[in-house]
Amino acid sequence: MRLTMLILIVAILLSSQAILAKDTIEWWQFWTDPAIKPTMESMVEEFEQANPDIDVKLTDLTWANGHEKIAIAFASGSGPDVVELGSDWIAQFAANGHLADLSSEIAADSNDFDGWGMATYQGAVYGQPWILGTRVLYVNLDLAERAGHGTNYLPADWIKLLRRTRDIHLLGDDIYGWGSNTPEKHRLYKKFLPFVWSNRADVFTSEDEGNYCVISSRHVIEAMSFYKLLHDSCGYVGSQRNIEDAFLDGKIGYIISGDWLLKRIKLEKRDINFTTLLIPGSGTDGKVTAGKSFLGGEFLAVNSASDNPEAAKKLVDFITQPKNQVRFCKANHSANPSSRAAQEDEYFVSDPNLQTFIVQLRYAVHPPVDPNWVYIEEEIEKAVEAFVFGTTSAATALYNASVNINKIREK
């Protein structure tokens, strides 16, 4: 009897020790939409079942203040083990030593995922690409048809884009050719830079060419002048949300937007005859080439001070697996998984609009990975605001931006 009791006590103690030995990792993420939350939770449950020694504590963040919460948590040493980061935050957190260097872990995966460039800071990789985001051209086909444009008559370069948008603009009082963004901070540069990239220009030269700021080059001036031309001649000016609302109401012919608009059209069951097109190239060199779009995305990073880095990396690896990316994209109506295997899934291949996003990914550029980018983008936005909404000339506005960007970089 005593022996049985002893065995029982030892067994209980051992099992409780096994429970206590479980690693608990915290994952902070931004997906709180009821459409995607159950998928997130079920992925975590599956991970826990596959790894019984790991518990995952899922914490929701909001876009309104998530960045601040992460920054404060890292600064106070209480950051989560795994954190979802927007592409433009990685350099900032990596530069200050808060993220674990994942270079050795991802070496084998490098050809299987897109988006590494945004996670690479000074030669080291600090995040695993998860869900990427690019923008494409949305066209209201009813308005295009009313303006006499068939589906084979859609724009492939800037001049044609300008003509098509102007034709639509002439249709009526409350009809506009083009959706033009107001100077919303942290958004306007995402709208303007694709025109720069499409015109074979950039903010900085490559590292090999000295990494000089060339924002006031002739090609950028040309891009900004065309941007203003679209804005002045046929623009419906509003916030991104205003522009999308007007497009869905059938008031705008052409807008640039992301996959969230596809989601909105589906969820709100909007009755709009539209299609998506690749961003047109500039054609200023007389050639028809693909235009460049903006590339951003969501990354999973590991806290450099995590007590359980191995468990954290396992979770990152599990969540970013191709099958889980497809699950996520289906639930969230996302169009750009980072996994190339996931991009070839039937779900994306069978939908022409999703395909546009997948193809556009090949012609998408991300801004430089620089911890001071938030200040640099502000200077670019000020230049666009001064020229497009003010009275300053393009050359002066861009020259001022160039001077200020150089000052920021000197600091």
Binding site: H67, E68, A71, I72, F74, A75, Q92, F93, N96, G97, H98, D174, T182, P183, E184, K185, V237, G238, N242, P371, N372, V374, Y375, E378, E385, F389, G390
Partner: protein, 289 residues
Amino acid sequence: MRRSGLGGLALTSPWVATFALFWVFPVLYSLYIGCTDYRLLVQGYEWVGLDNYRQLLNDPDFTGALKNTFIFVLGTIPITTVVALVMALLVNRRFKGRTIFRSAFFIPSITSMVVVALIFTSLYERGGYIALLAELVGLTPPQHGFLFDSSTALYSIMAMDIWMSVGYYMLIFVAGLKAIPDELYEAAEISGASTVRQFFSITLPLLRPVALFVIVINSIKSFQVFVEIFVMTKGSFDTSTAVYFVYEEGLTTAFRIGYASAAAYLLFATIALFSVCQFLLMRRRMTTW
């Protein structure tokens, strides 16, 4: 006596401790931080003395934000005060439905600023009701909407703020009017004083402390304008204000807490100076009456 003093201290100590920890300490600590180059994400920081203050005074973003704050304060306070006083005089009279008017004027003050800002954002849009009203009276509204034009954005926000605040200050003026003894008006009437004369010789002088209170409170509130800017323009179209600048520098982008703290102290000094000037000006006038 000594024992009761200790008892009192014991009873107030929870509040004193909370006050010291959550008010006094942050205020003093931010003064210290304002003299460092502290950034939230960077380990360690260095003492930079008054460098942040020097840099701020040469930072066109800060001086622009401060200029907008002054425009906001100087533009809203006189109008809010005069309109609130006129409304208080009107609703203080006896007439049918007086309570309904008082409540209607007061309702905007108890509505969430975010809700009001969102409603006004919609009203100010191109093709919105305010643009239509402007067209009706023969004015040309801004092409892309009132908030998307540097010449109208800040003034549009100020107009909304006035609409929202007057009800609250009206109620304070009504309380002040109630405190004026009726005998004074009766005596004035017997002496043959007109209503206008009664207003300038009785009402206005006796409302002076209330007016001072309204102006000071409204000034402090206006210097701290933030929610409207955050919701309606995010500081675009030349609408950034001092507190919005502090928020942007300290809690977004590069998390420059040291620089933002210095900006907050400059704002504090400005408000303090402004309030002292108001007190001195109003006191001098009160003594002359």
